[in-house]
């Protein structure tokens, strides 16, 4: 997962007369702040008193995490407009084969269907387990684990004019569309390339096509595709044949990238402004004012009887996406508290507000939710950088720097111990293959600069090194950069920072488009983040390979260019393991090897604090989109 991970944490000769006006404004501002601010008393720390990061505690009865602020009281009320607000628009025009952010996944829940998907459940195990959505039942899997046969449930309809039935060919078309040269850089066709027979050749060729080619040419490529691993013997049956068994294929097919796509999507160039998006879900996008507002209204073609996962309670879902900059999180929080908005869009509860909402008593409108396996942020080394005589290519240098970071300080930047826990490995608690270990222990996870310094000296750098840090210039990232700079300075390492606009970070910032791009050494270290694309006991493929498998197609999320054939081999074995336990053991081995090589420094794993307005009922958190399922919500009468 690329942009999704990088964007969850938000994650900005006057004349004498002007100066005087500024003075007046400054006085007014002081008065307003002084009158409006509360006192600040030191917090007593975590209010919940539970070990949030022990996977066995995810469903304890002390506090049911997923129902913390559900508000399921009363019967569903039909009607009303759900108001959602935030500060960033979708990055891929709401196209299901391109949207790769949590906000995109959140909205797609309302207007797209997949063969399988995740139920909205306050039981985390159920919430992480794929169940039938457009498919009538779980797939029939052949004895060798290579063939998955899905049968569509009857009554699925597009909101075309007139309404038209959704067919198996629509789902095939959706998977094939992932390889469109315009869509592929935004989405992740890699999961399908790695699993479906015959898909690699098709996808490689299609991705290499001219992004400027006509819709007719794209349509011909897709309509004439002969991919042996995707067959549609009739309108209601689709058969996938895999190259090797995959314990996580159900998760892969449950991704929004595998949403059905109507034939109309082949009549225009993807991502072009004004493209009409059709819906087979309970809502349809009826207004999309780019950069400002997205409005969804009820889809008359959808029937509750055909959808076991979603509902159609509210009349309209109104998403405002144009709140300004770095103060947006604070403004959204105020609006939710005041009831002028119902849910957050891309922001979380600001850490400064958490204390007031946790004590003296836990606010019924606040929920704190796990995203098991999240590692956000982390520090990655450009192991191909030539700077400082190629120091980062030296494993002993990287291992020395593993001791530098005060991870408790990083936790505090993101709200403290009640929301964050230091992480010392690739696979985080709750993810497949998690077995706790720490190759670079420091007292209290607060770093050991003396050890870092001595190891650097032993590695041949007694006078330290200088590193260039590309950091995002919004949210908590400037603070993270300064903490990294400060911690490395204690180790004798000078860090010079370059701020990068968040919108450019993953592309022209740290991303490179040529195989030797990293060797230019524009940056040495950077701090991205990773949220798994799915959760649960089969999500090993959703983290480690994407960020540390050097064999994956270039460019990818292996930002620092790390590649160890031993890790690649373990990944390949884990992905083709026939049992979950075998796969988990292999993922753990891969984790051990990566940490030994030290291509990155993990910082923390975190909970997601979300707030809802008082009139929102049935706010169920679904890990799949790391947010509430907006199709479960009803509003107070």
């Amino acid at each position: 997962m690329s942009v999704r991970n990088l964007q969850r944490r938000d994650e900005v000769g006057a004349s004498r007369g002007v100066a005087k006006w500024m003075s007046i404004l400054a006085f007014a501002a002081m008065a307003i702040v002084a009158c409006g601010s509360g006192t600040s008393t030191p917090s007593s720390g975590a209010a919940q008193g539970n070990d949030l990061f022990n996977p066995s505690n995810f469903n304890t009865a002390n506090i049911s995490w997923l129902s913390a602020n559900q508000n399921a009281s009363g019967s569903p009320v039909m009607g009303g407009t759900l108001q959602i607000e935030g500060s960033t628009d979708l990055s891929a025009a709401a196209d299901p084969q391109a949207e790769y952010e949590t906000i995109g996944f959140t909205l797609e829940r309302a207007y797209t269907r997949q063969l399988l998907s995740y139920p909205a459940s306050t039981n985390l195990t159920k919430a992480e387990t794929a169940v039938p959505d457009a498919a009538a039942s779980m797939p029939t899997v052949s004895a060798d684990g290579l063939t998955y046969t899905f049968t569509l449930r009857p009554g699925l309809m597009w909101n075309t004019n007139p309404p038209r039935a959704v067919t198996s060919r629509d789902f095939k078309r959706g998977v094939l569309r992932n390889c469109d040269p315009t869509l592929a850089p935004n989405g992740n066709p890699g999961y399908y390339i790695a699993t479906i027979a015959g898909f690699r050749a098709f996808c490689t060729a299609f991705e290499a096509a001219n992004p400027g080619e006509s819709p007719a040419a794209r349509a011909a490529t897709i309509n004439n595709a002969n991919v042996s691993g995707i067959q549609t013997p009739n309108d209601t049956t689709i058969v996938f044949t895999l190259t090797q068994p995959a314990t996580d294929f159900n998760n892969i097919i449950a991704l929004p990238f595998a949403s059905a796509a109507p034939a109309e999507y082949l009549t225009y160039t993807p991502l072009a402004p004004g493209n009409i998006l059709y819906s087979d879900g309970p809502y349809a996008i009826t207004t999309y004012n780019v950069g400002h507002q997205i409005i969804l209204t009820r889809n008359a073609s959808w029937a509750q009887s055909t959808d076991p996962l979603r509902h159609q309670y509210v009349n309209e879902i109104d998403v405002k996406v144009d709140l300004a900059g770095s103060a947006a999180a604070t403004q959204v929080q105020q609006d939710l508290s005041a009831g002028t908005a119902d849910l957050e869009w891309n922001t979380n509860v600001p850490p400064a507000d958490i204390r007031g909402l946790e004590s003296p008593s836990w606010s019924r409108q606040l929920g704190v939710f796990p995203a098991p396996g999240t590692t956000n942020p982390y520090l990655v080394f450009n192991v191909q950088s030539p700077n400082s005589s190629g120091a980062l290519g030296n494993i002993k240098v990287r291992q020395a720097l593993e001791y530098a970071i005060d991870k408790v300080a990083i936790n505090k930047i993101y709200g403290g111990a009640s929301l964050n826990e230091p992480l010392n490995q690739v696979i985080a608690p709750g993810a497949e293959g998690y077995v706790p270990f720490n190759d670079y222990p420091t007292s209290g996870n607060q770093g050991d600069p003396a050890k870092c310094k001595s190891l650097l000296k032993a590695a041949g750098y007694p006078n330290g090194i200088t590193l260039k840090d590309y950091y995002r210039n919004s949210g908590n990232h400037p603070a993270v950069f300064q903490e990294v700079q400060s911690d490395f300075a204690k180790c004798g390492v000078t860090v010079v920072g370059t701020p990068i606009a968040t919108g450019y970070y993953g592309s022209s910032g740290i991303g490179v488009t040529t195989p030797n791009g990293l060797k230019a050494g524009h940056w040495d270290i950077t701090e991205p983040g990773w949220v798994p694309d799915w959760f649960g006991p089969t999500n090993g493929r959703a983290t480690l390979p994407d960020i540390f498998d050097g064999a994956l197609s270039f460019p990818g999320s292996d930002w620092g260019g790390y590649d160890n054939p031993a890790v690649d081999a373990l990944v390949a074995q884990a992905e083709s393991a026939t049992t979950i336990s075998a796969a988990a053991a292999l993922w753990h081995q891969a984790d051990l090897q990566v940490m030994k090589d030290a291509p990155f420094i993990p910082f923390e794993t975190s909970l997601t604090p979300l707030f809802r307005s008082a009139r929102v009922h049935n706010a169920v958190f679904i890990p799949f989109s790391e947010y509430y399922d907006i199709t479960q919500v009803w509003l107070s009468a």
Partner: protein, 325 residues
């Protein structure tokens, strides 16, 4: 009746005349200083400016006394359990801490260095460039005047924030770049005033006289005309300093100026954005110092303008008359 010799008044002989004290002439500078000394607002402004300068000079001393550096993060002990800043009065932190546990007093002191350095240096550069451009434009006239005047018009109408964004994206942000950007967008204001004055002065007789004595153009511009422009230039420069300070704070607030961890009052206000409602000190103190500094320079500039204007002599005379003996 005859007048006695005693009764008739007669003028005293020169040797008998009492000594008359001569009226001592004062230079224009002495006049200006004398006028400023009667202006209590000007005196207060000077005091404030001197205090800010002293704070800036003493910044390393303050850091040494408190034991807190300006850039070293201190999240573990300088923030509470939730990572929030500590309030003023917390042991060891007179003005509280920021979001990374750094001492706000120390950062304000080091931020004063940035503000004063940028304000004074950018103003100096802008003044020099503005005077030269304005003198050339006003003195020579013709196509040179047209060219330079239009250049100044373009600079004055250019959106400086957009320009700063472009420059930062190309060259990366830095203190020298910040100073140059501010100077670039400030020179035109001075240049236009100097141009107007030069246009007027070049028609004066003394210029004609210099010509007739064989003086070259450069000599006339910089030796004959320029001294007559010193007064307005000084006033403009004094008023430009607070504008430059605000300009720097604005750029740093937007992330285009001084980069973290170097403290600047502007980037301190930017850092405070996310936590300011709970940690008011994070906003208030940088804002107060910024306000005090710019207000002091503005008021001093007003006072210098009044002191240099001979038409305000009556005002100062009145002040001197009312001053208790």
């Amino acid at each position: 009746m005859t007048l006695s010799a005693v009764d008739v008044a007669r003028p005293p002989a020169p040797s008998e005349e009492p000594a008359v004290k001569g009226i001592e002439g004062r230079t224009p500078l002495q006049l200006v200083v004398a006028r400023l000394r009667t202006d209590r607002v000007a005196l207060a402004s000077v005091v404030v400016i001197l205090l800010i300068v002293a704070l800036a000079i003493a910044a390393p001393l303050i850091a040494a006394i408190t034991g807190h550096g300006p850039s070293q993060t201190n999240v573990d002990s300088g923030t509470d359990a939730n990572g929030q800043p500590l309030p003023p009065g917390t042991a060891g932190y007179l003005l509280g801490t920021d979001n990374l546990g750094r001492d706000i007093l120390v950062r304000i002191a080091f931020g004063a260095r940035i503000s004063l350095l940028v304000g004074v240096l950018a103003t100096a550069i802008a003044t020099i460039v503005g005077v030269v451009v304005g003198l050339f434009a006003g003195y020579f006239g013709g196509w040179l005047d047209t060219l330079l005047a239009r250049l100044m018009d373009v600079v004055l109408s250019f959106p400086y924030v957009l320009f700063a964004i472009v420059l930062v994206s190309v060259f990366g942000s830095s203190l020298p770049l910040t100073i140059l950007v501010i100077a670039f967008f400030s020179f035109a204001a001075i240049g236009r005033i100097v141009r107007g004055q030069a246009l007027s002065q070049r028609e004066k007789e003394y210029v004609e006289a210099s010509h007739s004595l064989g003086a070259g153009n450069l000599r006339i511009m910089f030796v004959d005309i320029l001294p007559n422009l010193v007064a307005p230039v000084i006033v403009l420069a004094t008023l430009l300093i607070p504008a430059a300070i605000i300009f720097e704070a604005t750029l740093s607030f937007l992330g285009l100026g001084v980069q973290p961890p170097t403290p600047s009052w502007g980037n301190m206000l930017s850092d405070a954005e996310g936590v300011g409602f709970q940690a008011w000190w994070f906003y208030i103190f940088p804002m107060l110092f910024l306000l005090a500094t710019t207000l002091a320079f503005n008021l001093l500039g007003d006072a210098v303008r009044d002191a240099l204007d001979p038409r305000t002599e009556r005002l100062f005379a009145g002040r001197r008359k009312n001053k208790p003996a």
